[in-house]
Subunit: 249 residues, 2 copies
């Protein structure tokens, strides 16, 4: 059997009781290390917490050579761990289908996801979010503006946009970096983004949540990753009050 | 201090380790009993699991008379429990603001939410969801068609729609009921919804996930609540394969 277990947002104690029991009973435990990361606990700390080995998996292990994981899941119980809620990433869906095709039983034990956590931290209402987008690090001769187009379309419909910030190897895009990129994209179109909400370390004991225009957020010390960004639509009164009280608006 | 603790999706073991520790250390524990429910565990089972009293809170307790909860949070540590991830509902945001206005420290311990769990269960990709909507039970002389308008607008933009089904007292809208309502709304506009994905009991050991058009889902035995519905946009190949494998498409 192959069980996908969501570890939640920040550290080893964000896992559910159900997920922990699954890990304790598993024959093999793997940790997916390439789509997201638990910033508050290292793999070694997880091993100590679970009292069993936790083997790291990188993109090529899952997408090119999943044979080992699948073979073990045919013979015994495998727990496949990932930060957040499993399957928000397509790479997990692909692995589940490969397992299904081999007749391996699969299950999902859900974990807290940044996609809903942002609502509580910002007070922005869940049903007012439109399509989300990802903001990649620009590369030489490559500066995609699709994220801005998603934001613009949402704003036209008076919807909030959640913007996932790029993670590449050990490089994490920060809120000030993201704001600067988006401000450039808006300026190129002769417009401006009136308000941002930046959230750092959701799920930790000390998340930082700050609302303001780009020039304000550029100077905020958000601290270590992970960071995420929201572009709010026109605020409802209650959303505004919440941001004033909890995000320094 | 007032800590909002998400209980996750289905039963008492869906809470995080962090949330459980907060409850065990709290002076008072309240359970919000009106926006959503943990179908797999009663309040009494939670009391036994936590080994302390869990006091129920109904809408009027939180929205009209929160004084008791707030007073206790001024004097000691209060854990405010709710199914899913806290704050997706505005009533929680309101309570947090009232606490903040009184100078009470607040925090959120996140839990798994249906809003991300549906991605794993259906294989429908998170970034392809547009605005979500809620489908209320029709009442005498009141048959709002706004949910259908949200769906239609999303479909025009090739985006999936998550449809939250009504909960009223002990009445839970089922997937077949919802499909029938939406099919009526579509028919009234001379159109039809080509595909639905129904999900029952997300987070349990036996979730039911089925994809098909309305006439197919009308005959599926989804079993006990909670139910939720997705209207997918045009499927990507991988989404289609996933639904074929795990949702009987």
């Amino acid at each position: 059997m192959l069980t996908f277990v969501g570890l939640g947002l920040f550290d080893k104690t964000d896992i559910s009781e159900k997920g922990l029991r699954c890990i304790r009973e598993a024959d093999h435990v793997f940790l997916e290390c390439y789509t997201s990361l638990l910033m508050g606990s290292s793999r070694e700390e997880l091993e100590e917490y679970y009292k069993k080995p936790v083997l790291p998996l990188f993109r090529e292990d899952v997408e090119q050579h999943p044979d080992n994981v699948l073979r073990l899941a045919q013979e015994g119980d495998v727990a496949f761990l990932c930060a957040g809620d499993p399957m928000v990433s397509t790479t997990h869906a692909d692995l589940r289908m490969r397992a299904g095709a081999l007749g391996i039983r699969t299950a999902i034990i859900h974990g807290a996801s940044i996609s809903s956590a942002v609502c509580g931290l910002s007070g922005l209402q869940n049903y007012r979010f439109g399509k989300s987008c990802s903001l990649p690090f620009p590369q030489k001769n490559w500066f995609p503006t699709t994220p801005y187009e998603v934001i613009e379309k949402n704003l036209t419909q008076n919807l909030h946009t959640l913007v996932y910030l790029d993670i590449q190897n050990n490089r994490y895009m920060t809120i000030p970096e993201a704001v600067s990129l988006l401000d450039q994209m808006a300026a190129a179109k002769g417009t401006a983004i009136p308000l941002y909400v930046g959230i750092a370390r959701a799920g930790s004991d000390a998340p930082v949540v700050r609302a303001g225009k780009g020039s304000i957020l550029a100077d905020v010390e958000f601290g270590p990753p992970l960071h995420i960004l929201i572009i709010p639509a026109v605020l409802h009164d209650m959303e505004r009050e919440y941001l004033e009280m909890f995000a320094g608006l």
